[in-house]
Symmetry: C2
Subunit: 316 residues, 2 copies
């Protein structure tokens, strides 16, 4: 059994043929050209799908379904993308468009949820039934897997794990709320915190390492400074991990998933991040009488979009 | 089909015969006598179960299963109550004890989760598949219903909705964390906030209404003062609802349940609480493009324990 997975992003459309173990047989990509009318975008997507099926040495009759992951909020039942800032879409009939070209089931999902499914099928949480993925990037995205399926609430709009409040009346978030998890624990938040520390501590290695140019500070800088023994870098990382632990523990005390998978830019720090994070989580445990949630790094990388979208047809 | 439900509390054991609509046919109770060895407690529970079956005019052969809800952390697969401070239990073999008396399936569940199931079967969330109950009492308890079943995580220890952090580095909670939802939005928290306001504002109606005795302040006092036009009472209620909205919105942005049912002492305020709470939630919405979670008052009252426990055998 083979499944087509499409990762529809603001810059490129990626598509791949995936087997039922979540392995990509063949994939390719084209530019999105999001300034165009959506009918043109979906025409290119259909061509790309046919191309990767041929590339995999298969016929379209071997394909079970097409899954499409994209940023934004889908109406999964209707197959409509209700809104997507990244793509500039409002109420785009994704399923209808693709069914002009293919007589196959078409599934639509938010890309973060699709990535969580990819980790659950073939990545860091493949051995468990219940898991959560959080990605620490520009914002904090994520997806919830319950019983090996995406759980996204009654309206399909979930989950918005980056927009849980961890600081009452805290920093204003782009969503309009104050104190959101992602304002304190995303890669962007870490960069903001590192820049503030650099300004306060002119002697810090943060400044040496970036030639005193704050624009060169990225999500690795504080970790690198910490490793080199810098006090300001160490303080930034410690405080960042406290915030991260608050948000991660909120997920644990709500859902008790067996595994929380951490991805995104900051997730690439791996055990540098996870070892102190696990220590902070220990301090926040509600009880020691039960088995603990495991923290693991994401494994699917940039395959997550295609694999997760493809597996929508398998794990529906 | 009939089910036995047992609500095992620190003070009393309540048992009832429940039909498959979640209606109690007959119920009764006995004191728990928790200072005794658990074998004596379960002997009394078994006698009570037989008594209510007779009271309902039935024979034990008509009963499908026995469900037991209790405070604490159950190992549901093993049928063991791992720990319960309220009952002073550690690793008590509930299923084995009850199977000395009954050749029936025995289910065990945390009482807050059982109450959530009761609302889902016969109460405020009976029309939806996905719902969450939170009870605003001494602490904040709650349960998550996904697909008409209790979801309590991979280890059965969930959910601990009162122990999600809404105030980074906030007030210290009994669980060891800081800034837990229940330290700000439980009935106890509201009483604490009301007492502080009474001390700061000697002129407040809060003091008039309680004869200046802080010990007479309860979870209704600030609401009553607000209704009578008192500025300090109004400020307490408004701030309390801000905290409550933060924690409720965290549940929404994580799970997007169709309904959140609010019970417990403060929940009894009903629309006095829910109308301003819905307004605060509106301010915190991630998007207006999707259908919103509904806020409703709990309906099952003190029947929740028996009905929820009984329905464990139906909605397993």
């Amino acid at each position: 059994m083979y499944y087509l997975g499409v990762d529809l992003g603001g810059m490129s459309i990626k598509a791949g043929v995936v087997n039922d173990k979540g392995e990509i047989l063949y994939s390719d990509k084209v530019p999105t050209g999001r300034e165009r009318h959506y009918t043109h975008i979906f025409k290119d997507m259909a061509d790309l799908c046919n191309k990767v099926v041929s590339g995999a040495g298969l016929d379209i009759s071997c394909i079970e379904s097409i899954g499409i992951g994209s940023p934004g909020i889908p109406d999964k039942k209707a197959g409509i993308l209700i809104s997507s800032n990244n793509l500039g879409f409002t109420n785009v009939p994704v399923r209808d468009e693709m069914q002009k070209y293919f007589n196959l089931p078409i599934y639509l999902e938010n890309d973060a949820n699709a990535a969580a499914l990819a980790e659950s099928v073939a990545g860091a949480s493949r051995d468990v039934e219940h898991s959560v993925l959080i990605t620490l990037g520009t914002g904090i995205g994520g997806g919830i897997i319950i019983g090996n399926k995406i759980f996204s609430g009654f309206n399909g709009a979930g989950s918005e794990l980056g927009h849980t409040c961890i600081v009452h009346n805290g920093l204003k978030c782009s969503c309009g709320r104050r104190g959101c998890f992602e304002k304190y624990a995303s890669a962007s938040a870490l960069i903001y915190q590192t820049k503030k520390a650099a300004a306060r501590h002119p002697e810090s290695l943060i400044n040496t390492m970036t030639g005193g140019n704050p624009d060169k500070i990225d999500a690795r800088t504080a970790f690198d400074a910490q490793k080199a023994g810098d006090a300001a870098g160490d303080a930034v990382v410690r405080k960042y991990i406290e915030y991260l632990a608050d948000g991660v523990m909120n997920i644990i005390n709500t859902l008790f998933p067996e595994v929380i998978v951490i991805g995104g830019g900051v997730g690439n720090e791996g055990e540098n991040l996870f070892v102190p994070l696990r220590k902070e989580l220990k301090k926040r445990l509600y009880t020691e009488d039960v088995e603990e949630t495991k923290i693991r790094g994401a494994e699917m990388g940039n395959k997550a979009g295609i694999v997760g979208a493809a597996m929508l047809g398998r794990n529906i």
